[in-house]
Subunit: 341 residues, 2 copies
């Protein structure tokens, strides 16, 4: 695993919230009467999702899968919400540095943190993985898990994307929200399996995606047990515990879930191993890449992007006949329809 | 964390199976008409469980807890099933050594493995933590997670306890099975949080306890991602990944579940930190130790036991007024009533 990927993937993941609607499951009768994926244009991608669900949930089907084995895993950044021009969690870390800077005059001597304070993103990135790691450790450690959770909640409720002006939590993909709801209505258990920070995602995934904290797998720092005033707190340490990217995704799935998924959704080479693991299941599986092809409504990028690079994954998907979602043509809507503004 | 605890706790956990009945949830009407805990004698322990459930599930109660926050965690060895004269997982490891010995003539030169082959338990234990670690690594690594799962399934279906003659999977505590069912019937999510091996428990917890693999937290070795014949396999490595004991229990709960429990059940000092973490929840909580007091029907042990030592925990529980289950007087039955023989 390349170190730069480790660090970059640790920077993945952010928030979205916004739409309580998202968390609601479709009523069974709705799945029969209504189109379960109204934001999807008719085409091979939509058809492959619906055909898969029908095949594995119909009791008389040779591909029937018991509900207990209906495990579906979703990457977050670039799959459930946007990730350009850089992972939203990086913006969170930068915002946090600026917020804390007045209390830390010593940061003025630190070139990495100084670049953040001065909004010099290119300079920040020029420090490479070491700089990004320092940024994460400065902003994600030294406080309790409960304090961190509250900081994330406050940020996600208010922070806005520099280009779209939307709240980050509004930049979730409506078509994917529909897939989550459709799968849950068919007794799938939906999980996030992201390179982003697990403690960064958990405070808002229930509200935004209908995915409870215990169904979120992500990267993490170590924590220490402490008693304070007779109560147990867990303190986040400036030390990597687990990187949930590439080979780490199947490993994280095994560790956290203990079952091999039958459906997996990603958008980058960082998700390839998770999709391969899912395709290796002896049961019927659905394996899908979201391909970012819409430069107008979102961003168009793949083989050469520094964020969410989809290169080898594109080759494997084509060779194996996996589902490729052409965002521009397959999706009627991009972002959540439950926008707050 | 003391090293000896690390190793001992890695040796915890085994199997039980047997009773599909266990997995069934009580129908709501049963919980109203019938005693939800028929194997419990009336007394303060039983009362504290029922009072807690009523207090947190009654909508008009000041202690009402939303279903999403009803997280209950259970230690396994000594809490859900027996653990004497030594953790059942140790017997599994020893049985595995004997099974594999014919293919490994070189083991004859290894004093640890030779002690196992010769049934010299005391000699094995005399090698201390280093010996036990070697035993675990010899038997729990070098194969794929799927192969290991199958080996565990075969063992749990057939292996018998040296003293009782029962299948290990029959040595689950009926009163605790009733607590699991009672909590689930009241919308609690029940988890195992054990020092035992996660891959050792997951193959049978659904059948025995009604707890799915994804709700089992335990100790683990590292695994490696490999492609074999075009399919992904995960290979268990002879290297500790996580020890889910003592301080490790709250840390494991945070990592795997991401929510602070409101109910926790243990039987030893290895569970104390999990119980303290649960008691630290700002919500109403139920915190309970099973005290092994029945030398006739089971085993009587606490402060001085080398397995499942309950010493500091007993002091803290008494000082804090936590629930203490007196196994001899509180439980009408000990083992599963769904015995196969």
């Amino acid at each position: 695993m390349k170190k730069s990927f480790l660090v970059l993937s640790l920077l993945m993941a952010v928030i979205l919230f916004g739409c309580n609607q998202n968390a609601k499951q479709l009523e069974p009768e709705n799945t029969i009467i209504k189109d379960p994926l109204p934001s999807w244009n008719e085409g091979p991608a939509k058809k492959s999702i619906i055909d898969f669900v029908n095949a594995v949930t119909t009791k008389t089907s040779p591909d029937f899968i018991l509900p207990a084995d209906r495990i579906a895993t979703f990457d977050n950044d670039g799959t459930l919400w946007a990730e350009q021009p850089y992972y939203f969690q990086l913006q969170f870390a930068m915002d946090r540095v600026k917020e804390l800077a007045p209390e830390h005059p010593e940061w003025k001597k630190n070139p990495v943190l100084q670049a953040v304070i001065n909004d010099e993103i290119d300079k920040l990135l020029s420090f490479g993985e070491k700089g990004l790691l320092e940024l994460i450790m400065t902003t994600h450690a030294g406080i309790t898990t409960e304090e961190f959770s509250q900081i994330v909640k406050n940020w996600i409720a208010t922070a806005r994307h520099p280009k779209t002006g939307k709240l980050y939590r509004e930049m979730v993909y409506q078509p994917m929200i529909e897939v989550l709801e459709y799968l849950r209505a068919n007794d799938f258990k939906t999980y996030i399996v992201s390179g982003g920070g697990i403690d960064f995602m958990r405070p808002w995934t229930q509200e935004v995606y209908g995915i409870p904290a215990e169904q979120v797998v992500g990267s993490s720092v170590k924590v220490a047990f402490e008693m304070r005033d007779g109560k147990v707190v867990l303190v986040k340490l400036p030390e990597i515990n687990f990187i949930d990217d590439k080979e780490g995704k199947p490993i994280g799935i095994h560790q956290f879930i203990g079952k091999q998924p039958v459906a997996a959704f990603g958008n980058s080479d960082g998700d390839l191993q998770m999709l391969q693991y899912t395709a290796s299941n002896s049961k019927k599986s659905l394996v899908l890449f979201v391909h970012h092809t819409d430069s107008i409504r979102e961003w168009a990028y793949d083989r050469k992007s520094h964020i969410g690079k989809l290169d080898k994954g594109l080759d494997v998907a084509t060779a194996k006949g996996w589902t490729l979602v052409d965002m521009k043509n397959d999706w009627k809507n991009i972002y959540s329809l439950n926008l707050l503004n």
